[in-house]
Every structure is written in structure tokens, then in C-alpha cells.
Amino acid sequence: MPNHRFKFIFAVVALAALLSSSVPIAQAQDSAIDTYAITGARIVPVSGPVIERGTVVIRNGLIQAVGAEVPAPADARLIDGTGLTVYPGLIDAYTTLGMPQPTPQASRTGGVGASPAATPAPSPSPQASQFSSPNSTQPVGLQPELQAIDYVRAGSPEIEAARSSGITAALTSPREGIFMGQSALVNLAGANATQMTLRAPVAMHVGFTPLRAGVYPGSLLGVFSALRQMLLDAERLRIATLIYEKSPRGLRRPEHDRSLAALFPVLQREMPVVMFANTEREIRRAVDLAEEFNLRLIIAGGAESWKATDRLRARNVPVLLSLNFPRRTTAQSSEADPEPLRVLRARVEAPKTAARLQQAGVRFAFQSGAMTNMADFLLNAAKAVEHGLARDEALRAMTIRPAEIFGVADRLGTIEAGKIANLTITRGDIFDKSARIAYVFIDGRPVDLRPVTPTAPGGANAGGTWTLNINLGEGDVASTLTLEQQGGRLSGSISGALGSAEIANASVGAGGEIRFTAPLTIGGQTTEATFTGTISGNEMRGTVQVEGRSPGSFTGTRPNAPPSNAPSTTPPTQAQPRTEEISK
């Protein structure tokens, strides 16, 4: 109801401004109402004790005053805060919000139903990346100069879904690569990247996914070596440039290499490095690398970070902890192998991680971890509280902690006079399942709230259980591939006649390009195999490279895609009939 009133007022004022001065609409909106007073509300400022009944005054995009005795200014639009709780605007500490969706790749066979023979076989060259730097000497995927801020687009459905879930600001980073590029902290409102930006660049982002199609580094082994060599090259260029600038005569000029130059602030510890790491070993590897080059490390993901708190605490490494908790998505089948204990344990341990980090004294902030239903953000934070995380600490992990980690605690993250007026206002306690988001203020303005609906994940939907037929030249061999998806990243296992193993180096693009490696056992030899292919709906096909063999092929099917929302909100879709399974 209040929203409608605001909209109407906006429209009238905007129209009036437009008619009177013919200024662009964006500016006209800037001149609209900018003073609000939320009165009689419970206020949780995070920076101090809870105010059970007080007023927050917002003016010109900033928090002007907050307190129990603060009067509402005469020109303020009043919001009756009775029954409402005002929190600092929530921050999602790692997203790809506003980044372009990679353009879907044309199906390898020219579309569903088309004969493979009817179209020439496309070359397996990798799809052109959305993120590339012109004139870089480095291959795509190793271009640290890329800036998220150059790619951010306002107003995507994902942004709307996030802020409708109470999120006001987010760290957003390029989607892919080893040196993925530099992230930006953006407000989730504004007409364009310029208006949205809170701080850019914030951090350098490192993923450990090998490059595709035979380009070095093509394995996790090479990824580490490539990272090392670039950091060494950058440090040498930095020193050479210093020497040259002091006295250029008689010296060959150092190369002007923007890719390497982008690493100078990283080497100087001016810019932190966010490394994507979920398992204990990935986290320890990231810490090792950071120690080797004295980098300011931040871990993103952090599923098993509670197993490496010794290292994280020793180097004061914060964790951007994913709230995208794993859960079982497959139905029961008496025919299937039992799920590994490791998997069962991981799902149960996930909500306990935050409390364990708190106990161990490791700083952390919550991130959405490419969850498909943003309503899970608060629901899963509440689960972390159920599993022992202090409520105020959970709230900090969504407000002041990310602000501290990203260097904006002086302007964001608490309700204090003079800070940016990002507020999340709920009816009911924020960790209560029945809480509703009542208002979200970003930069001092209320934003439209829409019912939260699941959105497409970062990569094409690849999760679920696939039946693979792998042909290595001796007929089809069946395997079962189980994939769990987090955005464009995949994890899972493969089992069947070619042995059982965890997959590695797995990723899926938005166009359905899938890649992973797995050790296969063929006639007693266990050998690494690389799967490269494309998902189209519930089918996948592609090639298998196995050491010591001619390239093979594989096809895969799954009964249907896993639901892309939480079980709690799963619409009652029809379960797959068992009989169909068995008759296959």
C-alpha cells in the first residue's frame, strides 16, 4: 500500500519536473522527495544497543539522525514504524549481480531434433568470453585488469530479486577466469553503474578453473604455476618501472603491460585478493599461495573453512561464507547406491560453519553463493543462528562485517548519522521465518519490492543425476553422474562401470558448456579423463579425452532438472514415476 502511494507521488513530481524544465527523467527523480522519517520503529543500529522505539531520519541519501527522541522533520515523508524493525541495509558479500549473462551457444547439432549430419560440425574452440581485455598479452582468463564496473548493468531481474529479499548492496565480480578481474561494491538501485557504485575496484578475484581447449594452463597444476609466474612477472615489471622512471637513460624501457600492472596494488597489499575456495584443501592452497606472495587474502565460498581456522586465524583471513547450503535434491530410489557419508555429513555441517568460525575468531561475512532463490539468504542465515551463531553476529555478517572487509565501514553497514541510508526494514525479527521485508531503502530512497521468484542460475542448469553413456570406442558404457551446482561451478561424482570418483575442475557456462575431469578406471587402469560438452535441456553430449586413448564421446540424460528453489517453497511438481525409470 505505501509503495503505491510513493509511486504516485514520484510520478506526479517527475511529470511536473519534466514539464517545467525538460530535464532528463533521471535527474527529475533526483529532485523528488528525499527526506523520510521512520517513526515509532524498533531500530537495530548494529553499532550500538537496540532502540526499542525510535525514529530514523533520512535526508539526501544519508542517515541524518537516529534515536529514541529524534523528532521527525516537518518536510519529511513519514513512515509509521509501529511493528517494524529497522536494520542496516543487508550486504551480499559475493555475487555476479549485473554482470552480463554469457550468450547461449548455438547447439552443437543445430538445435534439438536437427540431424547432426545436416550442419557442419562446429569447431570445439571455446566460446568467446564476455570478459576480455583488448590488446592484453595474456590469454582470456588471465586478465586481472578487467573491472566489474565496466560490465555492470542496472535493473536486472536478479538485482530486483536480491533487494526484494532485503539486500541493499553487493560485491559483484566478473564471472570467469583464473585472474577473473576486479570487483565492485554496488548499491542495488540506480539507473546505471555510475549511480550504483559504492566502491570500485574493491578486490582482485581469483578462481582456479583451468582454461579450455588446450590453452595453458589446462589443469589445476598449471593454474597455480600460471598464477605464480604472472605475480613474479608483475613484481619484476614494478621494480623495473621504478628503476626506469628514476633514470631512463641507458635502460631499455620496460614493457607497458596493463595485465601485469593491474597486479601492482595486489603485490603492494593495497588491494585484497578474493580466492574461491570451498574444501579444506582448496582453502589451505589459497592460504599457501597468499603466504608465498604476501597477499591480502579473502576466502570466498568457505564451505569447509571451519576445518582450516588455524591457518585463517593465523593470517587474519576473512571468509565470504556462502549461505547456499547444500541439500539433497534427488528422490529416494532403492536401486541407487547410498550417498557417500562425506556428502551426508557436508549437508549437515553446512549450517554450523558460521558459528564455528565465530568461536574460532575468524572474521566472516555472508554471501548468497549463487543461490537460485534469494529468499534462502535470510532463511539460511536463520539456520546458522539455530546452529549456534549469535544473532547479533549473524546480523553483523550481513552488514558491518562485509563493510569492514571491503573498506567501507565508515560509510556503510550500521545505522549511524552521516552514513549512507541503506536500510532493510522488516515486519517481525529478521531471523524469524515469518518475517516480511516491509521496506528497503537504498541511497535514501525506498525501492519497489516484488515477490521473490527463483531466477536463472549463473550457469545453465546442470544439477541433478545424469545417466551418462560413455563411448571410448568399444560401445556405450553407462555411468551415473551426480552434479551439484553453485552458479557456474559444479561439484559431484561419477560412478558406474568405469569406476567411482569425485569429479574435478568442473564448470558450466550459461550456454550449457560443461567441462569436468574425472579419473576413469578402464580395464584396470585408472586414468584422468576430461569431459567437454554441452547441456541442452535434460540432455548433454560431448567428447571425452582419456590419456592413452582416442577421443571418445558421451551422451547424458536426466529425468528432469532439479527444482531451482528451496524445498520449503517447492511447488508440488509431479514426481517422476518410478516405472519409467526402471523400463529404460
Partner: protein, 493 residues
Amino acid sequence: MRIEMRRTTALLLALSILSATPFFRAGAQRSSNRQQRTGEAPTPPAPAETVIRNATILTVSHGTLQNSDILIRGGKIAAVGQNLKASANARVIDGTGKYVMPGIIDCHSHSMLDAINESTYAVTSMVRTRDVLNPTDVDLYRELAGGVTTLNILHGSANAIGGQNTVVKIKYGRPAEEFIFPGAPPGIKFALGENPKRTNFPTPAGQPRRYPATRMGVEEVIRDAFTRARDYKKLWDEYRARLQKGEKNLIPPRRDLQLEPLVEVLEGKRFVHAHSYRADEILMLIQIADDFGFKIRTFQHALEAYKVAREIARHGAGASIFIDNWAYKIEAYDAIPYNAAILVRAGVNTSVNSDSNERARRLNIEAAKAMKYGDLSEDEALKLITLNPAWQLGIDSRVGSIDVGKDADLCLWNGHPFSVYSRVEMTFIDGEVFFDRQQDLARRADLERERATLEQAEPNRAPSSGGTSPSLPRGRRPAYGHDDDELDGGNDQ
């Protein structure tokens, strides 16, 4: 979990293995953080002393001792003999009727690697297996159950010059950094023949064929790399000399991670482990090494080494071979099971490796075969999997035999390790127990209970609606546990 067994045993073993981790975590140095992982009661700290009483001790270095004791203190072998005195609170293990031998050393393993080959280039000396170790690989636990304590984790054989190796102790349950064998000399994988020339690995469509494609090319790639490494060393030597002279404004040469390890090879600081099959290519690599003035530490596989045993001995290299696996590709045909015996008699330091997560569990039997083929003595056969690979990895002063002062890396068998009926009862590393068969058996019921509890937990319950059924593989599902597996040459990476 790459090799399947009969399903019931596989399930039981898998259950036990998957959570054996916390169970064997003894020792005071593990923090409450680690115990917190499972929420279990803290395990008591390892006793300061352990004594194994009245066992048959296969010392490897000085014969077999009957009815003797081993005293372990501070992770080292403190004493070997009869009626040893131990402190009152020492852990006492009754070895009556049992056999103790040094922990087995596997000189060629690809266990615990999240990636085996960086095959984009023919020279990948910059990559390090250390970067991609997976300490949770269940194969490690199975290897402990086969008495193995030390592994040489090698890069694959896709490249003429592959990546850097890592020598590890199998401290299963610990993070990777605790696996690293302290003080083990660094090494590097080389590869000759069919794998680096990509004979059996056709190029994916659309990609250019990788050089080299012939044995001539493999030789050229190695010579070229060492020529560059020599120039690189000179570049740095000159720079350091100018720096020494006090020259200012010098821009340092570029550090090249590909060439640095090769300079270490030239300086004798890094061991070369060369995957090789044919006699001619073994001689070729010895020639390169002689020309550039470095040594090959081991020829790996080396199925035709028996033809050039004297040349290998003269060069001072070791050979790390299979006993009776061959004919899995053209270059692996001209092999004989007497290879080990011939090499040993020619004075070549010889070991038997697995190159296979499966065979690694039964290296004792591989060594036993060397007694059948060529009449090696029991000690000579034992050395193939203990003291000899220890020398090949430069760790023979630390492990490989039961001698006072060496690391207490031991395995306790319920019978002679050369019998197919014998099983490992316990495996010790640095005096700590990392495998204990009795505890494993006792733990299985707990694991079943844990599974039942976990399956009832909310995130593990199948969605009541929606979600997919796990589908069944469409093809034929072969029976498990065929011995046909053993016809192959292993991973052959």
C-alpha cells in the same frame, strides 16, 4: 574410490574408510579445532613410548630378528633387540607370531592428485604436484592398509619434461602440509617414448598437434630445455656478478619458473625420475645427462632396463620397475620378469613401484615375485619396496630399514609379508598409528549408526515432491572384482 570390490565388502570398507580419519587422529598437537570437526570425544594423546614385543623383525638392513622388540620414542626407532626396557606408561603391542617390516615406499604414485598432467606443453617443469594434493583421497587409506607409508607423488608422463614431484608420508586425516616428507630432495618427472610424443593420444579436432611427435623430437625437446636452462643460469650469474660489483640501476632478469627447476637439475639439487621403456631411449637420456653434466636418479618402468643394466649402473641411476606387467602398448612388449634380478645383480639400485592405486595396496606381493623370478634373497626382495626406493628418493637416512635412529615408519603383519594370506594389522608413521585393523573393524557399527542418523537429518532427506530420482545406468553393469585388472600396466602416467 576407483577400484571396486565385491559390493558388500566394498560398502563396509568404504564406510570405515570415510570416517576413519578422526579415529586415528591421536596426538597432543592436534588442537581442539580438529576434535571439534566431528564433535567426538578428544582422542588421548599418543603415548610417549610404544614397544612392540616378541615379533619377527624384518630389519632389511641387517637380517631377520626372531622374538625381538622394537622401542619407539619421539617418533623414532629408539631400540631394537630382546627384552627392551620401556617406561611404565608405554603402549605395549604384543607381536607374538607377527612380523614387523619397515613401512613400504612406493616410488611411483599418482594418489592424492587433483590433477595428474598439465599436457598443454611438452615442458612443464613449472608445475608442482605439491599444489594439487588431496589428503582426503581414500586410496591413501587403502595404501596404509597395505603397509605403505611413503609415496613418490609424480606428475604424469604426457610431457618430455613434466612437473615437480612431492615425497609424502601418508598421514591420512591430516592436512596436506603435514604429509610432506621433511627434507626429501626435490625431484621432477621426465618421460620418453610414446606418451610424450602423444602416440596413443590423438589430438582433439581443431587443435594443432603438439610437438614432439617422434622419439627424435623428445630428445630435441629435452636438449633444448637444458640449453635454455644453461643460458638462464648464465644470465642470472652475470646479473649477480654485476650486482656484486656494486652496479646500480640494474633491472633483474625475469624469473622463469619453467627453467629454475632445470637449473636445479644441472646443479644436482633436483632428482630426475624418467618414465622410460626402451633400452635405446634409456641410453639416449644417459647421453643427454652426460652431455649436460647431470644425473638421472631413476628410470621409471624401464621394462627393457635389463638390456642396458651395466650402462645404468655406470651412470649411477636407479631403476623403478614393475615385476610382471607388460605388453599394454607397443613400447612395453620386450619385457621379462627377471628384470629386477638382472638389475640387482648388475649393481643397479632397483625398486618395484605401483603406478596404480590398486597395486599400491599389494606391493609386498610384487616384491615377493622377485624371489620367484631370478632368485633374489628375501632381504634383496624386501629392499625393492623399502631401502632401495628410499635411496632413489634420497631419504634412505630416514626410512627404509629398521635401524635405531630412523623414523618409526613400520608395518605390523599377522604373517610373513610375502604370503598372500598375510594382512597388515597396524601401520605406524613417525611412531603414530595411522592404520589399525582392529579399530577399523570396531568402528564399522558406529559408522552405520552415524549414517542412519545423518540420513534422517533434514538436508539429507529426499524432497517429498519434485526432485529427480537417481536414474539407473542404462548399460550392462559388469561384475566387480575381476582379476583381469592385473593384466595391465597400471596407471602408466
